[in-house]
Symmetry: C2
Subunit: 388 residues, 2 copies
């Protein structure tokens, strides 16, 4: 196990109707003038935004609203949010939505306390401070409600880049599983895929002797495999929504990642896909992961066999562990198909002829991506080809 720091200071407020406590917690965590940040009209139509505003008003907290966040959130709205926060002396940002809204809020929080261009942080500048961000989560997926990260797409070149730092962890997050019941099944499935990806990026590691984080990772994967089909079969099954919602948080607050190298190359390959085609992040991951697995599995057959046996309940083939490893990947693909996810380029709307563009935009040059296997541009090309 590697040395590590673990810090997940977010105060989580979980359960039915908890969004009505938003005002109480904004006050407790020091907010007095709030930017409420959200996406499209659904939080307006379903009354969530009104309930939140009422809760803030009850505590005497004033606010400004900024909606319009889109999936794969863009830089333009971030710049607008930063302008508002500086002009209006906002001291607290409340994100009401899913991962895109929260990531956009984190970017605004960073940029408001910085004199330069917020994009500097997404190009590698160290994060030191940010306005406090809190969240009211409406989609179980990205884990941004407990994570230190944010992913933004810059409209100049449609570059999708990530940035992270403890100052960006939400001070509190309200998770009400009821709010996720109205999601279309496709989005619920994308969310389940994203959670699983967050675990798997950490699970496939070269670090030895990481039993505790292996077992916790497997527990989260088993939960998603068990609960996602129930949520898809019955939209209003609160219990499966609740299990998925907490699984999504634990999958990405680094509970699974402590003390080990993690990979993230599948995420980077997916970022290029969703940057170019604007496909759903989860759907892109469902396509990239099996291709990546097949390409790298020989690097550590026994780790893939462990994944197959412990997560998918495959029988271990002691004569031929490679067969077990492959069986696990097949199980992953079958599960993805069963929840309505694409597993190939064609299902996603991606095109084989665009592979050189995807590879070039990644900008690896002579460098590599990933840690489990360090992938060159040639490797990445072959993985995209496996996904066709």
């Amino acid at each position: 196990m590697n040395n590590f720091n673990f810090y997940s200071p977010t105060f989580f407020v979980f359960g039915k109707e908890r969004e009505n406590e938003a005002g109480k917690y904004v006050k407790r965590f020091g907010g007095s003038k709030v930017l409420i940040h959200f996406g499209g009209g659904s939080v307006v139509k379903n009354g969530l935004l009104d309930r939140v505003k009422k809760s803030l008003a009850n505590e005497g907290i004033t606010f400004v609203e900024l909606g319009g966040v889109v999936p794969n959130p863009r830089s333009g709205l971030v710049y607008e949010g930063i302008d508002i926060c500086k002009r209006e002396n906002i001291d607290f940002i409340l994100a009401v939505g899913g991962g895109s809204v929260i990531d956009s809020a984190k970017a605004i929080a960073l940029g408001t306390l910085y004199d330069g261009d917020f994009w500097d942080f997404y190009l590698g500048k160290q994060v030191e401070k940010a306005l406090p961000v809190a969240t009211i989560l409406t989609i179980s997926a990205a884990g941004s409600e407990g994570s230190s990260g944010s992913v933004i797409t810059h409209e100049n070149g449609m570059l999708k880049r990530a940035c992270g730092g403890d100052a960006m962890r939400p001070v509190f997050s309200i998770l009400n599983p009821e709010l996720t019941c109205s999601l279309p099944n496709f989005q619920t499935a994308c969310g389940a895929t994203d959670m699983m990806a967050h675990v798997m990026e950490r699970y496939f590691t070269n670090t030895k002797n990481v039993e505790i984080s292996d077992r916790l990772s497997e527990g989260i994967l088993l939960t998603v495999i068990n609960e996602a089909p129930k949520a898809l079969a019955d939209k209003n099954d609160y219990e499966s929504r609740a299990n998925l919602m907490w699984a999504g948080m634990v999958a990405h607050n680094d509970t699974c990642g402590v003390g080990r190298d993690s990979d993230w190359s599948s995420h980077q390959m997916e970022h290029e896909l969703s940057g170019l085609y604007d496909v759903a992040h989860g759907a892109g991951l469902a396509v990239m992961f099996p291709a990546w697995m097949k390409y790298v599995m020989h690097h550590d057959i026994m780790r893939f066999a462990q994944f197959a046996v412990r997560v998918w309940g495959c029988e271990m083939d002691f004569q031929n562990p490679e067969k077990t490893a492959l069986h696990g990947i097949e199980c992953y693909e079958k599960f993805m198909t069963s929840i309505g996810m694409p597993i190939r380029f064609s299902e996603l709307g991606a095109k084989a002829e665009d592979i050189p563009i995807l590879v070039k935009t990644m900008g690896l040059g002579k460098g590599t991506v990933g840690s489990f296997v360090k992938l060159t541009e040639e490797d990445v090309t072959k993985i995209y080809e496996l996904a066709v």
Copy 2:
């Protein structure tokens, strides 16, 4: 799943030689005059205390020392610590030791900011504020390095009582698994037992549909079952020590307890044992748990069967789930014996004739203890009898 809050804000600093960063973190978390609290001579003899003091001095932090904490920590030293903190204007407490030292430090932190008797909090008074406490952990067991709780024995009557509150969560905790390599095997085994107990108190619940915390719980138990024997076989096996150390934290920062009722009756029955006989907490738990399990298993045979199958790898007896449930309890007992733990009164030095005293000291009266099954004095008596 029940509604819940989850808050684990401690900054964890994990790995080899990390105790040398103590000064840096005390400074970061606002300490300027520190009470270093510790137990017996081992941290003096092995040089740990000197390294910590050097680290503090390097940052210009002054300190006062208070050693002498004993297992099942006592009220007398707590009162002494509170006097010192008030007299010397201490603003930060650094606990260097195991759960007893940390629990004693938390009690001092509570009492220093309170005008009355600190024991009030252990009799049920709500915790609101405390001096910041940080820890340098030397024993993987109690989980106090990440928990909100503290257990103290009052010398007036040898009453062992618990108290909890978020203000008592350590601001940072340094976990260096190397520090645990010198422990006698008996203490390592007691620690493993304690971790398992922290998980099991939460695992046996009446709350339905808690797959995510079930799976995380099972992951921690599987880790301890896998790693404890390795640590006992080779004292200097860093990797098993590391896995155990992190398992001990996760077992008790409430990762396993979110959204569910938890029981704690075995802990309460054990508290009476260690209060009367001053036996090691882990050893007492190893004795009480199988007795409790056998007494309550019929309340939910399928939960005990799940425990047997998922944690102990038992084959499910579909004709007779009760056999599977019993098999799981037997596996627990065998595992305890294999790591050198007692599983009956006689091995512990407890006496059947003292059972009425144990029951009386618990002070249930007409009330009950526990949540999975609400136990009356009569039930508790029968459970103690099963442990004989």
